[in-house]
């Protein structure tokens, strides 16, 4: 095992203010069990899970309440014992509506949790391990929520040569992964060994941004005596270093072609928090029902890193973080660069809620955009080397085909362009808009056929 500096940087990127000092040194705290949980059936990328319970049912901690429903999907488990008081559509962090199981948690949560039998990863077969990853509802906890079982079972003609652990956490404010790497480094190591087995022994690269020295030190200690080709790759602190494609490039110099998945260049990228959850699922039989969320921003009294069950309402998290300060103007689920704006605190966390940020008028404001002045800031900032200025102008003129010609489908929606635009144009939103209508068109075409 050795620690190396990343050799291959990408062009573009930005240097936002990180504000990680607010929570980077605070140990993860466990949230007291909330009275109600609203567990969404759509916490992952792909088809929502099929709900298995109805109003009035008693559920045990760890009980399966939503079944995997399709190839790209993941099961959902009850985070705590209690009674189902409703199964109804609820607005999720992304703004969309999906069925959620509302659980009134038991006063006395002493009932035995339903766990899966622990597995010894050394003796278990690859199939058993993979089935466990699936049954435990593990999915990417970095943002998109791609089901891990799908990722870890590449098509037979593809071989995974590199397993890349994403510990970049390049979003400002967020420190959940940073703390997980410090406090649960041994779990991550176990997870890596299990994943190595599932993927038939790929080389391992653990990518961490250079601003997380404590995390790097903890990982170095935990991985000191690991065998095989394992390296900690220290990435330069640059947003969006956490992007899969850029991380793969930094670690292996391989370029993922537009529209392709990492496995097409022999890589699998998984977030460090997910890897730790995977270790829990295999060794202790615990399904994924809780996660670390950073509650921060200048609108909360006591910024902190909270370990909370999935389905906790934002209001409970904020109350735990000392409450809301006066004059909050914006609530963000996730990080400030790619996170989703939510209209209220009556929204519940999911497996992908990495952060909850509250901002006052001092740090966010209503802006108005002016015409593009062609300054090129966005072009220089774009990590995908697109021309966001031209894309945004094309979309503004309702010329989606032209935006497609400029390669808008490659856009990561990372926000670097809007961040840099002196005219305050909604460049990223224009890209998102174009992508949505191109996808809708393609779907309509497919439906016709």
């Amino acid at each position: 095992m050795k620690t190396v500096k990343a050799q291959f940087g990408f062009r573009g990127g930005i240097h936002p203010q990180y504000h990680k000092d607010l929570t980077a040194d605070l140990p993860i705290e466990r949230l007291p069990l909330p009275r109600t949980l609203a567990v969404s059936m759509s916490q992952h990328l792909g088809a929502p899970a099929k709900c298995l319970v109805k109003k009035g049912d008693a559920v045990a901690k760890g009980q399966l309440i939503g079944e995997r429903n399709g190839f790209i999907s993941a099961p959902v488990h009850a985070p705590a014992a209690g009674t189902v008081t409703a199964v109804e559509p609820r607005q999720g962090p992304t703004g969309g509506w999906a069925d959620a199981v509302v659980i009134e948690t038991a006063e006395d949560p002493s009932g035995a949790p339903v766990l899966m039998p622990p597995l010894d990863w050394k003796t278990a077969s690859r199939e058993e391990l993979l089935a466990r990853v699936n049954d435990a509802g593990i999915c990417g906890m970095g943002g998109a929520g791609f089901p891990s079982a799908v990722k870890l079972a590449p098509p037979p003609d593809k071989h995974c040569e590199y397993l890349i652990l994403n510990g970049a956490e390049c979003e400002p404010y967020l420190t959940g992964d940073c703390r997980t790497m410090i406090e649960r480094a041994d779990r991550i190591r176990l997870g890596v060994e299990i994943m190595r087995k599932i993927l038939a022994g790929p080389a391992v690269r653990i990518a961490v941004e250079a601003n997380k020295l404590a995390s790097i030190a903890a990982l170095e200690k935990a991985f000191a005596d690991i065998e095989g080709n394992v390296e900690i790759v220290v990435l330069p602190t640059l947003y969006p270093q956490g992007s899969e494609k850029h991380q793969i490039y930094a670690c292996t110099k391989r370029l993922v072609p537009p529209g392709a998945l990492p496995i097409s260049v022999g890589c699998v990228v998984e977030n460090v928090g997910t890897v730790a959850a995977l270790a829990d699922a295999v060794e202790n039989g615990v399904p994924l029902t809780e996660r670390v969320t950073t509650v921060s921003g200048d609108g909360v009294a006591r910024p902190c890193n909270v370990l909370a069950p999935v389905g906790t309402s934002y209001a409970d998290l904020v109350a735990f973080a000392g409450g809301e300060k006066d004059g909050v103007r914006k609530v963000i689920s996730g990080g400030p660069m790619m996170g989703f704006n939510v209209p209220s605190l009556q929204i519940a966390t999911t497996k992908t809620t990495s952060g909850l940020l509250l901002f006052t008028a001092a740090s966010v404001f209503q802006y108005s955009s002016s015409p593009c002045i062609n300054c090129g800031s966005c072009v220089r900032a774009c990590p995908m080397q697109l021309n966001p200025a031209y894309i945004s102008r094309a979309v503004e003129a309702n010329d989606i085909a032209m935006a497609e010609g400029f390669g808008v489908m490659n856009c990561l929606e990372c926000g670097a362009c809007s961040f840099s635009c002196p005219a305050y144009r909604d460049v990223t939103q224009f890209c998102r808009r174009a992508k949505a209508s191109i996808r809708a068109k393609a779907a309509a075409k497919a439906a016709k056929k």
Binding site: K330, Q346, V364, I373, G376, V379, P422, T428
Partner: protein
């Protein structure tokens, strides 16, 4: 009846929720600050005339901008400072003794015709200050090309003070036998001890401003580098007047660092900027050295010509997508 609003009404917007907090007006302010040294030099060399001219141009630009926006029923944009910048740049491109009313006409033309008629900042195909200057050169040819001696008379041996020509006109005339390599001449050119437009005199002051812009990342190095580099190389190959004299005299430094780098009218990608800069340098030198041409100076025209083909350059220099 509107139901009672429960809870806070937060801002809702699409990500990102963070911003570099640089605005159009802060960029324009950067350029204005960067032009300060050159403007101070102008005041130093030409006295009150420089102040009056700049004041007239800026006022004319601001008033025109405000009136145009009013007439078009659009929001007022004088706050973005782009009109102030156009006014100052125009003034720096005028000879010190131009009648003030002509300067005012130039300002009105720059904003009214060259900018707002196209829809305002962001839509103008040509650099407004330069387009106005070209217009004035044609309309007021006499006053625009007359140079009375400044308080700091040209001292460099042999460059005749009485003719009060600019160094470039002197070159064009074909100063046979003149010793171009003398250090005193270069020194004068560098520090501004020569005749010329308000902003064309001191290369040093302009370069200080350019460094400021580069440090603040308001502009990138591509256009100034390519522009000045091409002028230098061309002069070297041509073998007449020493390359440094070409670079330091006339509007090359002002044009390369402040006019050609205008965002709206120059290409958006780095590659495009290099091509643009080279093109400017080339056309400048072609005009300067053309034996039959009437103009001793070609910076303004070269930039305008390159402005015209900027869309073409943009089309062929789109960035290549990461991973392709």
């Amino acid at each position: 009846m509107l139901p009672k609003q429960t809870g806070e009404r937060y801002l809702l917007s699409s990500s990102p929720h963070a911003h570099a907090r640089r605005t159009v007006s802060s960029l324009m302010l950067d350029v204005l600050v960067a032009l300060l040294p050159a403007f101070c030099c102008a005041v130093y060399f030409f006295g009150r005339r420089a102040l009056f001219l700049a004041g007239t141009c800026i006022a004319a630009c601001l008033v025109t901008e405000a009136l145009c926006r009013l007439a078009m029923k659009r929001e007022n944009t004088i706050g973005d400072l782009s009109a102030v910048l156009t006014g100052l740049l125009l003034a720096l491109n005028l000879p010190p003794d131009l009648p003030l009313w002509m300067a005012a006409v130039g300002g009105v033309f720059a904003i009214g015709i060259c900018k707002q008629a196209f829809g305002g900042l962001g839509y103008n195909p040509f650099n407004p200050a330069l387009a106005a200057r070209a217009f004035m050169l044609i309309s007021f040819t006499g006053p625009m090309t007359t140079w009375t001696a400044s308080a700091w008379q040209i001292s460099a041996g042999g460059m005749d003070a009485a003719t009060t020509a600019t160094p470039l006109a002197f070159i064009k005339k074909g100063a046979e036998g003149f010793d171009w390599s003398q250090a005193a001449l270069l020194k004068d050119l560098f520090f501004g001890n020569v005749n010329g437009c308000l902003g064309e005199t001191s290369a040093l002051a302009l370069l200080i401003g350019a460094c400021y812009l580069l440090c603040r990342r308001t502009i990138t190095w591509h256009i100034p580098f390519a522009f000045i580099g091409t002028v230098f190389l061309f002069a070297m190959v041509e073998g007449g007047v020493p390359p440094l004299v070409h670079v330091l005299s006339g509007g090359v430094v002002l044009g390369a660092c402040f006019m050609a780098t205008d965002y709206v009218t120059s290409p958006i990608t780095a590659k495009g900027k290099l091509i643009f800069g080279c093109g400017c340098g080339l056309v400048t030198m072609l005009i300067r050295t053309a034996p039959t041409g009437a103009y001793p100076e070609g910076v303004s025209f070269s930039i305008l010509i390159m402005n015209a083909i900027t869309p073409l350059i943009n089309r062929y220099t789109q960035p290549k997508v990461f991973g392709k």
